[in-house]
């Protein structure tokens, strides 16, 4: 018996292994679909600095069917910049094709999510997906697409052009088998979390029972759009270097490095090449394989490169985060810590952490809200690095915060590359650099909370102190009268009016046998 070999397309691979991208079962698939489409909409708006208006509707496909899992129509509509009409079929009907394969922060990471949702819809309903998009508000292009999975190619089933009605943006509508009964909690939680970090968006969600959930805009400030950036020398590998050299046109290595890498100027490039023992005047293409390997190794070890510039990142910013917290959590006290940018393996990242305390919305105990590039992470909390820090790395006693204090912790990591552990994008791996930043942020926030709580309690304390003298001094006077067999108590009032006792705050002298 001989082995026979065959090739499959990327669509086919993900079709066969759809579990891997979060499309495990009808309940998880419905949640993942909503999430992927909403994220695409928000990403598109933010890139063009458009205040997002996102409308999401889930409707049963056949109103007569009552038992989950069943077919649902999912419609997600935004006021984003729209998609160039000629790019539509491939952007929505081809796996491993998209706008996200570059070094720029975006919600999507693998460029898979939207297409996976469409693919899942197709294999469970055999219905084409409907895309309507307008870039100018003049013309709206309406497509019906299927995916040829074996070939990883879109099939245009229908294409129409309609009047744009002055509205730009994109609508995606697909039919899929889903289970709303078992996913409604997660879907609603997803919207609530999202609202916390996009207070500049209006989001409307209509559930299959016709209930409408509004998440309204409370600020018009938006985070800066993410920028594309060059790779940092610490974050590259041999393969990448080979590719870059192949594409390069620079005549010598010094120029090559300074043009193609982040944080490498001509001076730095020359200093580095001297360190690596390579002639800066050599042509990049003249490097032998062995020399490329050595240069990359040297780049990883060279410590004089400036850390990656986070200018390409789009953190939330204090104002926006504050607006979201005030709106969704209404706490008694909150503090926001934005850590300076840091980097892991050459990828820049920024940690933003907020800690909110008390008020009517926050329950007892610690509630953690995790975000990665503003995507809420809802599954597998226990495996996340933030949770590990909260549970294992923080000495809570140090901050004298009462047990069961009502605390919400919001952690947002912004990076050109989030180190997820799974394609399902649900938890952050524990890279030491990230761990350190979150830990420092949390400690700073806890110090502030601790200071707030102690300020509050020391005011209470001062009042209590005066009351104590008022209570005890008359007693002492009276007992001393009894012991000394006097007829009247000594005059203690003078002591009360003396201002002396207020100053007395010295550390207690030893007086018990402990």
């Amino acid at each position: 018996m001989k082995e026979t070999f065959s090739e499959i397309s990327p669509s086919d691979f993900f079709y066969r292994n759809r579990d891997l991208a979060g499309f495990t079962n009808p309940s998880r698939a419905l949640y993942s679909t909503v999430r992927e489409l909403v994220e695409n909409s928000l990403d598109a708006c933010e890139l063009e600095r458009i205040l997002p208006e996102v409308y999401v509707r889930i409707t049963p496909y056949d109103p007569m069917e009552t038992v989950d899992p069943k077919k649902y129509i999912i419609r997600v509509q935004d006021n984003g910049p729209g998609v160039e009409p000629d790019k539509v079929p491939e952007a929505f009907g081809k796996v491993l094709y998209g706008s996200k394969y570059k070094l720029r922060q975006s919600r999507g990471m693998f460029g898979l999510g939207g297409t996976m949702a469409i693919l899942y819809g197709q294999i469970t309903s055999n219905k084409p997906v409907t895309i309507e998009t307008s870039v100018d508000g003049v013309k709206r292009y309406c497509y019906k697409l299927m995916i040829d999975i074996e070939k990883n190619k879109p099939i245009v089933v229908e294409k129409r052009i309609e009047d744009g009605d002055g509205l730009h943006g994109t609508v995606v509508e697909l039919v899929m088998e889903g289970d709303y009964l078992r996913s409604s909690t997660k879907i609603q939680e997803y919207f609530k979390h999202t609202a916390l970090v996009v207070p500049y968006a209006n989001i409307t969600f209509v559930d299959p029972n016709g209930r409408i959930f509004y998440y309204l805009r409370t600020t018009t400030e938006m985070p800066p759009p993410p920028k594309e950036t060059l790779p940092h020398p610490h974050g590259i590998d041999v393969e990448f270097m080979r590719r870059t050299i192949r594409q390069s046109g620079e005549e010598n290595l010094a120029k090559f490095l300074s043009k193609r890498f982040h944080r490498v100027g001509l001076k730095t490039a020359i200093k580095f090449l001297q360190y690596a023992g390579i002639d800066p005047n050599r042509s990049p293409k003249s490097l032998a394989d062995e020399e490329i390997v050595n240069m990359v190794t040297a780049m990883h070890r060279y410590e004089e490169f400036l850390p990656p510039d986070a200018g390409c990142l789009s953190p939330l910013g204090e104002n926006i985060l504050a607006a979201g917290i005030v709106k969704e959590l209404t706490p008694e006290f909150f503090t926001i810590v934005v850590r300076p940018p840091s980097a892991y393996s050459g990828y820049p990242f920024i940690i933003e952490l907020a800690l909110a305390y008390g008020g009517k919305m926050i329950e007892k105990g610690i509630k953690l809200y995790r975000f990665a590039n503003r995507i809420p992470l809802l599954y597998d909390e226990a495996s996340d690095v933030s949770w590990k820090i909260i549970n294992e790395e923080i000495d809570w006693k140090r901050y004298k915060i009462p047990q069961e204090a009502p605390i919400a912790i919001i952690v947002n990591i912004s990076s050109t590359r989030i180190p997820y552990k799974t394609v399902g994008k649900e938890y952050i791996a524990d890279r030491p650099e990230i761990e350190k930043e979150i830990k420092n942020a949390l400690r700073e926030a806890l110090r502030k909370l601790s200071a707030y709580l102690s300020r509050r309690s020391s005011e209470e304390h001062e009042k209590k102190k005066i009351n104590m003298y008022l209570k005890y001094l008359p007693l002492i006077a009276n007992f001393s009268k009894e012991l000394a067999k006097k007829s009247r108590p000594p005059n203690y009032k003078r002591l009360l009016s003396s201002s002396e006792y207020e100053g007395e705050q010295k550390k207690i002298e030893e007086f018990t046998n402990s």
Binding site: L475, S480, L483, I508, F511, T512
Partner: protein, 360 residues
Amino acid sequence: MKSSPTARKREVQEQLKILGEKIYYQIENGIFPEIEMPSRSVKNIVYDESLKQYVVGKNRVKRSSKNIKHLRPFTQTIWLAFFVDKLIREGKTSTLRDVYYSAQAFGIEFKDQAESDEIITDLEALLGKAREDYNVYPEERSAIYGDLTIEYTTPGHEGKRLNLASHPDGYLIGPSLSTAELVETSAKMVFAVEKGGLFTRFVENKVHEKYNALIVDTAGQPPRSTRYFLRRLNQELGLPVYVLTDADPYGMHIYMVIASGSANAAHLTELTVPTAKWLGVTATDIETYRLPYVKLTDEDIKRAYELKSDPRYKDERFQKELDVFLKRQKKAELEAFAKYSLDYIVDKYLPDKLKEVKEE
């Protein structure tokens, strides 16, 4: 201890009056009142080689009503002084627990009995007198039996005499007995035993007659009134005291507290019987008499290690016994001799051990 209980009560009353006057004077002169007493902190508890017990050192602490953290315990202490002054005047006693509750009638709070017990100990340190001297007793009671005639000083019973061999279940060592005068005895020695069961066995087997002895049931670690009474038997009547305990580190320590006092009462020097001897049951006895044993618990082992580094145990004999405990990991109870017969401990073990101790 030379002064009689009655005399000591008068002393206490005098001290309390002086205390009151001092505070009265301070307040009248616009000074926040303060008191000073020996520090009972661990750092200030030292082992006195000549006394063979822990005593408090020279450090003193000031408790000032000006310090907000002292204010509450200061007031509590003064109230307690006032309260016991009243007790003595009225010829009443109070348990530790009664003190805790009584405070409320005067607007004083203790958050729990541990806190009021602490203040009672403070007053002991302040006055240099045991709480029994100011009529405060714990609830635990131990008992005594044997030919000893006492004369009560308790109000209503003054001058009445009682012979302690008259009730075979033994007499409770309560406030009346503690404060009675010791009139006469034919006894030549005192056996202090850890347990009521053995106490009864001794009475039934006429140990008091066979050895001309008084028998005291310490009821475990003896309450201070019992230690105080043992000391009186030793000092006032000149009787040697022999201690019998279970064979475990806690049993050994019952003897040691009788002989050398406890760290908790380091501020009092009149509760010990420095010449008391430990008859056993020793760790070695477990082997010698092949007693039924159980394994030492982790707690026992920890305790044994603590005792090994305790200055009261530096004597070679105790070190050796602690080593045997730790090596063999066995402990046994006094009742374990019943393995041979109920009489064995009286007829065989006791004479053996008395001989051994006297030969030392």
